[in-house]
């Protein structure tokens, strides 16, 4: 048996096996080909709430470096969702968040198109801003995605992992997170 069945059946459970945040908040994680809507996602996080004092957002956008025509993002269905849930759970454990959304796209994206959305909400700005930066830093180094750049002349190449991304992710390291160190080993 080499069909995709067993691997795909693990994807839904990835969402349910995450730890809720310390106030019971469940991070919203999606890996999808379709675009996302910032206003819609913001409303989903904040509508009807009066406890949120700050909402931070980060959107990663496909840049047209060196004549780039498109960026193709490959992922590992099942593992990617689980890895992001775990990173989001780590953010919830470190900061008092009232809401957290991570949406990461895959497939072929053209320059100017959004790739990733991180939204964090808290009663105060520091927790929202810091956790948002933490999430994108760890997503870059611990979520299983691989980017291939396609150029106008027909050439293509896999993007290599960058040392500066490892350095950005490492600034959030401490003893409590050494269990996740396998990602960078």
């Amino acid at each position: 048996m080499t069909g995709p069945g067993p691997r795909l059946t693990q994807a839904p459970s990835a969402v349910s096996d995450a730890d809720p945040g310390r106030n019971g908040m469940q991070p919203r994680v999606r890996v999808q080909e379709a675009p996302f809507d910032l206003a819609e996602e913001t409303a989903a996080l904040t509508t009807g709430r009066t406890d949120i004092g700050g909402l931070a957002s980060f959107i990663g956008i496909c840049r047209a470096d060196d004549g780039l025509a498109a960026m193709v993002l490959e992922h590992y269905p099942g593992m990617t969702e689980r890895a992001i849930q775990r990173i989001a759970a780590e953010a919830c454990a470190r900061w008092p968040l009232s809401g957290c959304t991570v949406i990461h796209r895959h497939g072929r994206l053209r320059p100017g198109e959004p790739i990733v959305l991180v939204l964090t909400a808290s009663s105060h700005r520091a927790a929202a801003l810091e956790s948002c930066a933490f999430l994108i830093d760890w997503l870059k180094t611990r979520a299983p995605f691989w980017k291939r750049e396609e150029f106008a002349d027909g050439e293509s190449r896999w993007v290599e992992a960058k040392a500066e991304d490892d350095a950005s992710a490492a600034r959030w390291e401490d003893a409590a997170t050494s269990r996740a160190a396998g990602a960078a080993a």
Binding site: M79, W146, A161
Partner: protein, 83 residues
Amino acid sequence: MRVLYFAWVRQKVGMAEEEVAPPPEVTDVAALMAWLAGRSPGHAAAFAHGRSIRAAVNQEFAAPDRPIGAGDEVAFFPPVTGG
């Protein structure tokens, strides 16, 4: 044992996944990589870059000395570049 390949590892090996039955002495991730390298010129080309390859066992990142068994799903891929 199901083995999955991603990104340039998949391209070099020439397939996205395969079912394999390594011999009993293949007990960890590093040994599996060495054994897989002997399966075809494509596998050899991919695993010649062994230091640049990361692994996951049952969808968790795994070090080279992580033990493996017959029912495991093992994946090989380059360092991640998402975000």
